[in-house]
Amino acid sequence: MAEPLLSVRDLVVEFPTRRGVLRALDKVSFDIAEGEVLGMVGESGAGKSLTGAAIIGLLEPPGRVASGEIWLRGERIDNLPREKMRRIRGRRIGMVFQDPLTSLNPLYTVAQQLIETIRTHMDVSDSEARKRAVALLDRVGIPAAARRIDDYPHHFSGGMRQRVVIALALAAEPELVIADEPTTALDVSVQAQIIDVLKEICAERGASVMLITHDMGVIAETADRVAVLYAGRLAEIGPVRDVIQAAEHPYTSGLMGSIPTLTQTADRLTQIPGSMPRLNAIPQGCPFNPRCPHVFDRCRVERPELIARPAGRQVACWLYDKEAQNV
């Protein structure tokens, strides 16, 4: 297999607090291949956004990467000096945030923000940067881009602003785009358009995408592979079709069961009993064990690591370890 574009190994993110250190991400490992779209799902607080922030080096203090490694095309980037990391942000890893209404600086025109970003990373003249900016806006589907580029963010609607945000994230042609819930704050009617724009433009440029969302529908339509996070740990990772159709981790199957489908008629959607543990009260063993329908003794004592499964899948569940031994 070719070298992955991004490789995260045993990433641990901790928040020192007065009452001890909270482990928000615990030994998370995954790869993103060249041109691949990796979906990252999980409940609120599972650590999806933190993973993105850790990769791009923008964890908010006091949060910090306590251990683990992040590699971008064979170069280790989690311990780079600040200035070097800054040059990677925007240039090699772009980021799209959740709320387009607050992502743009209200005091500058779209042109000013785009040109500033382009000229920070590329050695081009002002007029050249402007040409690129207009082309970008045009590409992300802003009508009359050449005229609207001199408007301020408040002149645009939410969906249009998110297109601008995507243009900004892609302005310096990054190899990886981290999209942190890019459609959550948008109207349902424009969500699909934004996802399409993001997906198309990244495919066009061969950029990989890490798509963070809690919307399984978006993942199913967009992602190549999906990683499921639970309480700061990876529960399962694998090709999106396989995971959706035949989830292996009990948490994932619970998640899938909670999604309504058009073909099935059910009185009630399945629901996972209980809620995700708080960071300071993660149970011993498997973090999912108090809510798991298939829990057995080992789950309460020993923590499961990711176990390799057929078809490039991995799952962190003792059920499959037992199987492996028996077969």
């Binding site: 800054r86 942000r89 925007g90 900004l168």
Partner: protein
């Protein structure tokens, strides 16, 4: 835009009229003007004649109208105490006050914003801690005490700077006497300017710091960082500019206060400005000067507020409603 300016001007005129009413009322309530103008030997008939000649028997509205007409032409009558036209008195002392206010205002703004940004960006550092603690002195000590302390340290003990007056002054044009062009003038300005500006500086500093901390947490700052912009661009281009609207408001209001309340500083440092003139006028119930001073300060506030509103427009595009409406 023009409609906005016209509307604000109309409001300003209304404010000025209200203040004029108060100023005018001073004449009526602070004793009988005739009594303070004539001697004891004047007969009642002569007094009545004078009253008629001065128009004091006219209906209230007519008197008020005449007062405003004269005020607009810069005629506030003759000072009871100094027997000089009030406008001349004020104009001769205005440069001293304006120079003092301007220097301390600029000082307060520059150092206030500078320290504010520094302490916001270097939270927890020992320099920031020291600056923040020291700034408490600026907020909590009364102006006259700061003035006296400065005089004691720098004028009495160290003898570096003069303790009172404006030093040598020279004329620019016909009536603007400036102390900025002579060395002793500049030296004399330092202590009063610090005294007057210290409170405003700490206020601006704390405001800038609080606003910066607020703005640095916003999504657009995070996004600016995620785009790999340099720290300099993020802090000054994106963050500082977003703190400016409240900072401009406060600075503008403070500029008004600096001019209006320079009275204390001028008294402590024997600064020959309008504030000192006002204090002396109050002591001698010199109503025309008091009234004119009141009007002058009101005018200063109104003008500054107008400028502040226009600056909003320059800083924040979201307020330029007319243009946005035209687009949609």
């Amino acid at each position: 835009m023009i409609a906005f300016i016209l509307r604000r001007l109309a409001q300003s005129v209304l404010v000025m009229l209200t203040v004029a009413l108060v100023a005018f009322a001073l004449f009526r309530f602070v004793g009988d003007p005739i009594a303070s103008m004539v001697g004891q030997e004047t007969t009642l008939a002569e007094r009545a004649e004078l009253r008629e000649a001065l128009g004091l028997n006219d209906p209230f509205l007519i008197q008020f109208w005449n007062f405003i007409l004269r005020a607009v032409q810069g005629d506030f009558g003759i000072s009871y105490r100094l027997q000089q036209p009030v406008m001349e008195l004020i104009l001769s002392r205005l440069p001293a006050t304006l120079e003092l206010a301007l220097v301390s205002g600029v000082m307060a703004f520059v150092f206030g914003v500078g320290f504010g940004v520094y302490t916001a960006l270097n939270r927890g550092g020992w320099i920031s801690g020291t600056v923040m603690t020291t700034s408490l002195i600026g907020v909590s000590l009364p102006t006259f005490l700061i003035g006296i302390l400065l005089i004691w340290v720098f004028a009495v003990e160290l003898q570096w700077l003069p303790s009172f007056g404006r030093g040598e002054t020279v004329y620019i044009g016909n009536w603007w006497r400036t102390g900025l062009l002579t060395e002793s003038g500049r030296a004399s300005l330092i202590l009063p300017a610090i005294t007057l500006g210290l409170y405003q500086m700490t206020l601006i500093m704390r405001l800038v710091r609080a606003e910066m901390l607020e703005v640095l947490r916003t999504d657009y700052i995070k996004f600016a960082r995620a785009r790999g912009l340099s720290n300099r661009a993020v802090h000054f281009g994106h963050a500082l500019k977003n703190t400016l609207v409240p900072v401009i408001t406060i600075t503008g209001l403070q500029m008004g206060s600096i001019i209006a309340f320079s009275i204390i500083t001028e008294t402590v440092f024997q600064w020959p400005g309008v504030g000192a003139l006002f204090i002396n006028s109050v002591r001698f119930v010199d109503v025309p000067v008091m009234a004119a001073y009141l009007m002058l300060i009101a005018l200063v506030f109104v003008v500054i507020n107008l400028i502040v509103d226009l600056l909003y427009y320059a800083v924040d595009p979201r307020l330029r409603v007319d243009r946005a409406n035209a687009r949609h």
